[in-house]
C-alpha cells in the first residue's frame, strides 16, 4: 500500500505535449479513476507513474520514494518501481502458461520457489482462475486473459496497481462482472488502484474517487462518484457523466424563456440565481423528465405557449423502444429533447405516439452558461 503523488508533471512525445503541468494525489489504499474522453492523456499519466514515459518536468512519488524527478535527475526504471500494470491489451505472454505468467514477477524478485508457488495459487484463486494454471493464453477467453493480467499485476506489487482500460475489449456481460471483481479484489487487498477509462459507468461503480479530465489533459473535477453526479462543476462534467439535454434558455423581461427562432416559449421553472442576462442552458437528464397528457389535451398546435397548467409543452417526434426503456424525442421550440421513461411506467400511463402533444415535467435542472463538447 502506498500513496502516489504527481507533482506538476509534464510528458512530451516529440514536440507534442501529452500532459502538461499535471498534479494529482492518490491516497493510500483508494481506487482512483482517471476518467476522460480519448485522447486526454490519461494513459500517459499511468505510463509516467509506471516509468514507461519520461518526464519533461515535475516529480512522481510512490509511497515515500521519489521515482522520477526532472529537477533532481532521478529516474527509477519501471522494473524497480514496484508497480503492477494491467495493459489495455492484457499483454499476457503468449508463450508461457497462466502459472508461468503470474510466477514471473516473483521469479524476478527471487522469491523462494515454494513460497512463490503458494502466492501464485492464492492469487489465481482470488481471480477465480485456479483451474486454469496449466493453460496457455490462446486457450483462454478475453475475460480470462484479463484476469491473468490482473493476477500478474497483483503479484508484481502489493502497493500500487495501474489498470489501463482493461475492460474495454470485453463484451457487456463480462465487463459488468469484471468491474465488481476488481472492486472486490481491491477491498480485500487494500491495494492502491489507479484505473484509467473513458467509460463513466465503470468509473462510477469501482471508484472511491474520480478525476474527470478534459481533452487538454487537465482535471475538471476530482471527487467521489456521488459528489460528481450531485454537483457537476461545469457543463463538461455534467455532459460526460451521462445522457443529457441542454435546453437553450434566456431571461426576457424577468421571465425565463426557451430560446427559439420563431417564438420564444416560457420555461416555467424557478429562475436560477447568478446567471444574470444573456443566454444560458438548462441541463437535465432524460430520466428526470416525465411526460403527461393532461395539460396538453385539446390543443392542436404544440409549442405555441404554456399549456393549461402552465407546463412546458412539446411535440413527440420519435418513439424508440429500447426494451426496459422507452425513449422519446420531443420537439420544444427549435430544440429536441430526449426523454426516457421506464417501460413499465410507460405501459401503465399509455405509450405516446409520434405526432402527439405532451407536457413535460422536469426535475433536477441545473443551469450552465455554456454547453461544452465532450468528445
Amino acid at each position: 500500500m502506498a500513496e502516489v503523488r504527481l507533482d506538476r508533471i509534464t510528458v512530451q512525445y516529440g514536440e507534442k505535449t501529452a500532459i502538461g503541468d499535471f498534479s494529482l494525489h492518490v491516497r493510500d489504499g483508494e481506487c482512483l479513476t482517471l476518467l476522460g474522453p480519448s485522447p486526454c492523456g490519461k494513459t500517459t499519466v499511468l505510463r509516467a507513474i509506471a516509468g514507461l514515459a519520461k518526464l519533461a518536468s515535475g516529480e512522481v512519488t510512490i509511497g515515500s520514494r521519489v521515482v522520477a524527478s526532472k529537477d533532481r535527475r532521478i529516474f527509477i526504471p519501471p522494473e524497480k518501481r514496484n508497480v503492477g500494470v494491467v495493459f489495455q491489451d492484457y499483454a499476457v505472454w503468449p508463450h508461457m502458461t497462466v502459472e508461468a505468467n503470474v510466477l514471473y514477477p516473483l521469479k524476478k524478485r527471487k522469491v523462494p520457489r515454494k513460497e512463490a508457488k503458494e502466492q501464485v495459487d492464492d492469487v489465481l484463486r482470488q481471480v477465480r482462475m485456479g483451474d486454469y494454471a496449466a493453460r496457455m493464453p490462446f486457450q483462454l477467453s478475453g475475460g480470462q486473459q484479463q484476469r491473468v493480467a490482473l493476477a500478474r499485476a497483483l503479484v508484481a506489487s502489493q502497493d500500487v496497481v495501474l489498470l489501463d482500460e482493461p475492460l474495454t475489449n470485453l463484451d457487456a456481460n463480462l465487463r459488468e462482472e469484471m468491474r465488481f471483481e476488481i472492486k472486490r479484489l481491491q477491498n480485500e487487498t487494500g491495494i492502491t488502484v489507479i484505473y484509467v477509462t473513458h467509460d463513466q459507468d465503470i468509473a462510477l461503480v469501482i471508484s472511491d474517487r474520480i478525476a474527470l479530465m478534459d481533452k487538454t489533459g487537465s482535471i475538471r473535477q476530482l471527487g467521489a462518484p456521488e459528489e460528481l453526479c450531485k454537483n457537476p462543476q461545469d457543463s463538461f462534467v455534467y455532459r460526460f457523466l451521462g445522457l443529457s439535454n441542454f435546453i437553450p434558455v434566456e431571461i426576457v423581461d424577468g421571465e425565463m424563456r426557451v430560446r427559439s427562432g420563431a417564438k420564444s416559449i416560457p420555461f416555467p421553472y424557478p429562475m436560477p440565481s447568478g446567471m444574470g442576462d444573456g443566454p444560458f442552458y438548462a441541463a437535465c437528464r432524460p430520466m428526470d423528465i416525465t411526460l403527461s397528457r393532461e395539460a396538453a389535451d385539446g390543443r392542436a398546435q404544440a409549442g405555441t405557449g404554456p399549456g393549461a397548467g402552465g407546463a412546458l409543452e412539446g411535440l413527440v417526434t420519435r418513439v424508440i423502444y429500447l426494451g426496459n426503456i422507452y425513449e422519446y424525442r420531443v420537439q420544444v421550440g427549435d430544440s429536441e429533447i430526449r426523454v426516457q421513461q421506464d417501460s413499465f411506467e410507460a405501459f401503465k400511463q399509455g405509450v405516446f405516439r409520434e405526432g402527439q402533444v405532451c407536457a413535460l415535467g422536469i426535475e433536477n435542472i441545473r443551469y450552465y452558461r455554456d454547453m461544452e463538447e465532450v468528445s
Binding site: S38, A50, G51, P78, E79, V85, Y104, K108, A153
Partner: protein, 574 residues
C-alpha cells in the same frame, strides 16, 4: 490514444539516463557491423575507382566508359533484363491468374510445381539447357538434325535469346508468387459487385482485378528486374563461349583475365559502378512508372473467390501448364541427373551407358568436390546463423528502439540487396585483401563476410516482420514485473520471435547453398563452394561430373526447402 502507441514504447528504451544501456549498446553494435560489412566495401569501390594515390583521378572511369566492349556489355544487360522482366511478368501473371481465378484442375499440385523453378539454381538450369540446345552438341539439336538430315540446329541457346529464355524460366515465379498471394487475399466481393453491376468477365479482369493486383505485379517485376540486371550465372555459362558479355560477366572477365592484379580489380570496380548506376536507374524508373494507383483493398484473410469457368479452354490451358512445367522443371532436372549418370558426355542416354561412377567421384573421390560440399555447408550455416542473429538485432533496434538515426540503419541493411553480388565481391576484395592490415584473400572468411553482407537484408526483413507482431506492451509488462530491459528481451521477445528466426535461418541458408556469383570472385585454392566447383568442373569440360555434383546440390536444396516448409507449417499450426 492508440495511434501514439509505438513512439511511446520507444520512449522507454530511448531514455534511460546517460549510462550505456542495453538499447544504446545494441544500436552501437548494429551500426558498427553494418559499417564494416556494407559501407566499407562500397566506399572502397568508389575510392579505388576515382582516386589514385590519394588524388582524384577520373581517367580510369572515363576510359572504361568509352570502351565499346563495355558499352556492348551494358547494352546486352539492359536488353536481357528488359525482355526477362516483361516476359517474366506476363508469364507469371498469366499462371497466377489461371490458378487463382479459374476452375483449372489440379491447383494444389500446380501451385507447388510452379514454385520449383524458384528454388532451382539458374546456373544449373543454364547448364542443362546448354546440354540440350548447344548448337552442335546439344541433345535436342542433335536429335533435330538427325530427324531433318540437315546441319542447322533447332535453336542456338548460346545467344541473347537463349539467355533470356533460361533466365525467364527461373525468374517468372517472382511475379507468380506475389500475384497469387495478392489474388488470394483480395476481397472477392469487389469482383462480384462489378459483375452484379453489369460488367462482363473480361471487363472485370481488365477494370477490377488487374488494377487491384498492380502493386503485387510491380513488386514482382521489380524483383525480376534487379535479379536479371545483376545476374551472373546464366550469361556466364551460355554467353562466354559465343563472346556475349553482360556487365556482371564482363566484370568477372576483367578481374579473371588480370588474374587478380590490382589494375584488373580497379577496372572491374569501375564497371561495378556502372552496373550499380544501371540498377539504381532501373529502380527509379520503375518507381516513377508505377507511382500512380496504390490500393489497400487487399485484406489479410483469404476468402473463396468466384472462379471463372474455362469450359472448352480447360484442357488446352491445362496442357499449356504442363508443357510449361515440363520445359522449365522436368526437362532440365532430367537432363542434369541423366547426364550425371552417363559414362561420358555425348553418348546416347541409354541404360547401358549409365553408371554411378560420377556420383561416387564427386562424393568420395574428388577432394575438390568434397571440399566444396563441406565449404558450402560451413559457409551457409555460419553465415545464416550470424546473419540471422545480427539481422534480428538490427531489426530490433529499428522496430522497437527507434533511435534517431534508424532510417540510416534501415538503408544500410537493405543496400546490399540492390547491389549486385559481383559488385559486392569486388568491394569485399578491395576491403579485405590488405587495405586495412588484414588480408583474408584466399581464405574462407572473406567469402563469409561477403555472404553476411549479401544476406543481411533477407534476415532484417524477416526479423522485422516477426518483431512487428510482438506488441510493445508485452515487453513493457515484463519491465513492470521487475525484469530489466535485457531480461525482458531474453524472456519475452526472443522466445516470441524464435519461429521467425528459424524461418529466417533457412531463408539465408538455402540461397547461400546455391550461391555462385560472389564466391566465384572470392574463392581460393581450398575454398571453393559447391556453385564454384560445379562451374569450374563444367568449364574444364568434365560435364558428367559437373552434372553429378549439380544433382547433389539440387537434392540438398530440395531437402532444405522441404525442411523449411515443415518448420513454417508447424508454426502456423500452433
Amino acid at each position: 490514444m492508440r495511434a501514439g502507441q509505438s513512439p511511446r514504447g520507444s520512449e522507454l528504451r530511448r531514455m534511460e539516463g546517460s549510462r550505456l544501456n542495453t538499447g544504446q549498446l545494441l544500436l552501437v553494435i548494429s551500426t558498427v557491423i553494418l559499417i564494416i560489412t556494407v559501407v566499407l566495401p562500397v566506399a572502397m569501390i568508389v575510392y579505388n575507382v576515382f582516386f589514385y594515390k590519394w588524388s582524384f583521378d577520373w581517367s580510369l572511369f572515363a576510359s572504361m566508359l568509352t570502351d565499346p566492349d563495355n558499352l556492348a556489355a551494358m547494352w546486352n544487360t539492359v536488353k536481357i533484363s528488359f525482355f526477362v522482366t516483361t516476359l517474366g511478368t506476363v508469364v507469371g501473371l498469366f499462371f497466377a491468374w489461371l490458378i487463382g481465378r479459374s476452375d483449372i484442375p489440379l491447383k494444389g499440385l500446380m501451385k507447388s510445381l510452379f514454385v520449383i523453378p524458384y528454388m532451382f539454381p539458374p546456373f544449373i538450369g543454364a547448364m542443362a539447357w546448354g546440354l540440350l540446345l548447344a548448337p552442335r552438341s546439344g541433345y535436342i539439336n542433335k536429335m533435330f538434325m538427325a530427324l531433318t538430315g540437315g546441319r542447322t540446329p533447332l535453336f542456338n541457346i548460346n545467344t541473347l535469346a537463349g539467355i533470356v529464355f533460361v533466365e525467364l524460366c527461373y525468374y517468372f515465379p517472382f511475379v507468380f508468387i506475389q500475384v497469387s498471394g495478392a489474388l488470394e487475399r483480395m476481397d472477392p466481393t469487389l469482383e462480384e459487385s462489378a459483375r452484379i453491376a453489369g460488367a462482363n468477365q473480361m471487363t472485370v479482369i481488365r477494370r477490377i482485378t488487374m488494377p487491384l493486383v498492380v502493386p503485387a505485379i510491380a513488386a514482382g517485376a521489380m524483383l525480376i528486374l534487379i535479379s536479371s540486371l545483376s545476374h551472373f550465372g546464366v550469361p556466364a555459362i551460355l554467353g562466354f563461349s559465343n563472346g556475349i558479355f553482360t556487365l556482371p560477366t564482363k566484370i568477372y572477365e576483367l578481374i579473371y583475365r588480370a588474374s587478380g592484379s590490382f589494375e584488373g580489380i580497379r577496372r572491374g570496380a569501375s564497371l561495378s559502378i556502372l552496373l550499380v548506376a544501371v540498377v539504381v536507374l532501373a529502380l527509379a524508373l520503375q518507381r516513377r512508372v508505377l507511382r500512380a494507383g496504390r490500393y489497400d483493398i487487399i485484406r489479410g484473410k483469404s476468402m473463396r473467390p468466384m472462379l471463372i469457368k474455362l469450359r472448352g479452354w480447360k484442357v488446352p490451358l491445362l496442357l499449356v501448364c504442363f508443357v510449361f512445367l515440363v520445359i522449365t522443371v522436368i526437362l532440365p532436372l532430367c537432363t542434369i541427373f541423366g547426364v550425371g549418370f552417363l559414362k561420358a558426355y555425348g553418348v546416347p542416354m541409354k541404360l547401358a551407358n549409365m553408371t554411378l561412377n560420377n556420383f561416387k567421384y564427386v562424393l568420395f573421390e574428388s577432394k575438390m568436390a568434397r571440399d566444396s560440399i563441406r565449404n558450402s555447408f560451413f559457409l551457409s550455416i555460419t553465415s545464416a546463423v550470424i546473419t540471422m542473429l545480427v539481422g534480428t538485432m538490427i531489426a530490433y533496434v529499428i522496430v522497437k528502439i527507434q533511435p534517431r538515426g534508424k532510417g540510416v540503419l534501415e538503408v544500410l541493411g537493405i543496400l546490399p540487396y540492390s547491389i549486385p553480388g559481383i559488385v559486392l565481391a569486388v568491394g569485399v576484395i578491395l576491403t579485405w585483401s590488405g587495405a586495412f592490415y588484414l588480408n583474408l584473400y584466399n581464405t574462407i572468411w572473406i567469402i563469409l563476410i561477403a555472404y553476411i553482407a549479401r544476406y543481411m537484408a533477407f534476415s532484417m526483413k524477416s526479423a522485422s516482420a516477426s518483431l512487428e507482431q510482438v506488441h510493445d506492451s508485452l515487453e513493457e509488462a515484463s519491465r513492470t514485473c521487475g525484469a530489466s530491459h535485457f531480461e525482458s528481451l531474453l524472456d519475452v521477445t526472443l522466445p516470441l520471435i524464435r519461429p521467425g528466426m528459424v524461418a529466417g535461418f533457412f531463408l539465408i541458408f538455402l540461397p547461400a547453398m546455391r550461391e555462385l556469383t560472389t564466391s566465384l570472385l572470392l574463392y581460393g585454392p581450398f575454398t571453393r563452394t559447391m556453385g564454384v566447383a560445379i562451374y569450374s568442373i563444367n568449364e574444364e569440360g568434365y560435364t558428367v561430373q559437373a552434372c553429378a555434383l549439380a544433382g547433389v546440390a539440387i537434392i540438398i536444396i530440395v531437402l532444405g526447402e522441404l525442411l523449411l516448409r515443415f518448420v513454417t507449417r508447424e508454426r502456423r499450426g500452433q
